[in-house]
Symmetry: C2
Subunit: 276 residues, 2 copies
């Protein structure tokens, strides 16, 4: 319970940044990503796997540098910008592979963990920044609200739903406290709150998009949470970090956002395809 309240206190200043919008949101996502990547890579040490911090962090910086260039300095043609992200992926993965050239010191797992971190912790949450750039004007308000609402409503309602109604374990081997009842409550709450938010603040023509966003986001924020649990179990750690003493690190707080950000970005992209 206390963790949930403390999470809330961490999230509160974030809400102000989302209200400020644009560069504030992107700056926040950038900082969270860099800290999260650091925690993720550090988690591998127990397994004697040593991803490259410099490659991972420079790669994330490059991703946001592309954002700054294409959004503020020199807008390319619409067909060009996403290719820059593909080029970014190519260069990042290439450098991770070249990292193995010190063949006596480094292993395949070091390179593969670096790549996984770049895509999972770097590229996935970056979709929150992409969503802000692409849909903020079309939606009238920041679509990052949807990402946060779905991630945190699911988390809170799954907790209380499980607390009051929970009878059947969801997947005891990965996360022993989660229940099927809690999971359903979380997903329903996410759907209802996203739909309500869309109805109140966004274009009602796209209600179906907001309902689907809430539903898929509710399901995948739980997958995000469980995926992080799997990583931690395999790494042999309890929490990714210790940012709030006793209450985990950045990655523990944002594990579900990692999956909901791209999920919601692509759902909105499909619905708004004709307006892009």
């Amino acid at each position: 319970m206390k963790t949930r309240i403390i999470s809330g206190l961490v999230i509160a200043p974030l809400l102000i940044l989302v209200l400020l919008g644009g560069p504030w949101i992107k700056g926040a996502v950038f900082i969270i990503t860099v800290l999260g990547l650091y925690e993720f890579y550090r988690g591998f040490h127990n397994m004697d796997v040593h991803p490259s911090y410099p490659i991972g962090i420079v790669s994330v910086c490059l991703l946001y540098f592309i954002n700054i260039i294409t959004f503020y300095v020199h807008p390319f043609t619409p067909g060009m910008t996403p290719y820059l992200y593909m080029m970014w992926l190519f260069i990042s993965v290439l450098i991770c592979l070249l990292y193995m050239f010190k063949i006596e010191e480094r292993n395949l797992s070091d390179a593969m963990a670096t790549i996984t971190g770049i895509v999972y912790v770097g590229f996935f949450p970056y979709h929150a920044a992409l969503a802000e750039d692409t849909f903020a004007v079309l939606c009238g308000v920041s679509p990052v609200w949807l990402i946060l609402i779905t991630a945190f409503c699911t988390d809170i309602f799954a907790y209380f739903g499980g607390y009051f109604l929970g009878k059947h374990k969801l997947c005891p081997k990965i996360s022993p406290k989660k229940t099927i009842e809690g999971s359903i409550c979380g997903t329903l709450a996410s759907t209802v709150f996203c739909a309500a938010f869309g109805y109140a603040f966004m274009d009602r023509e796209y209600m179906l998009a907001f309902i689907l966003t809430g539903l898929a986001g509710g399901i995948f924020s739980q997958f995000g949470d469980l995926t992080a649990s799997i990583f931690k179990r395999k790494m042999g750690i309890k929490d990714y970090g210790n940012l709030i003493p006793g209450h985990g690190g950045i990655m523990d707080r944002f594990d579900s956002v990692i999956f909901t950000a791209p999920m919601i970005f692509y759902i909105l992209m499909i619905f708004f395809a004709d307006k892009l």
Copy 2:
């Protein structure tokens, strides 16, 4: 020497497919990719790492399915298509991570190797198909010629250059036979042949692009070759496969194309940016 000649015999029918162009090239790249991915994943078995064949192969199929849809069935707006590739990456990596949900049977390395294979063996060579779609009309001939010329000229001239002039080892720990002299000969040959091909068959206004293509392609085809050697050393195998008995598999023949395809695609993209 015999390996080189046999390689040539494998490549010869490919040249006919490149002449036929369009779907023939893409079909060939698809088949090579699927076989290559199979070999790559199999290589991990020695290390007790077990990537998911079905996820990797379905992911590659999905990539070419997107190509068919966007190129032949329903062309989206230019801004939309590359986002489909980003969505593909998200879905593929997501499924690789969910693969770990059978937490007792599967390890982080299984998921990370699956991801690495999808990006390195699946997505990288796919740029040959992308280059064909994007630049065949602009260039007048298939840009896949440049990818093949650079990869195979480098390979052949590095071999003969090293054979006749080789004195200094390039990186004995990774590949004991390679020499600095051979490497320089290969890079120069790649530059000269790409420039000559561009001069003879393509728009001479873009000569600088073809020279750079040859130069960067020459360097990175060697990195591709060495990267494959590192994987094989770490996996504890001599060759990836046994397609031509005694002369290695698909991945042994195409290891340099994996890096040159995206390299050349992005160089052309930068030079032709204003025409896209």
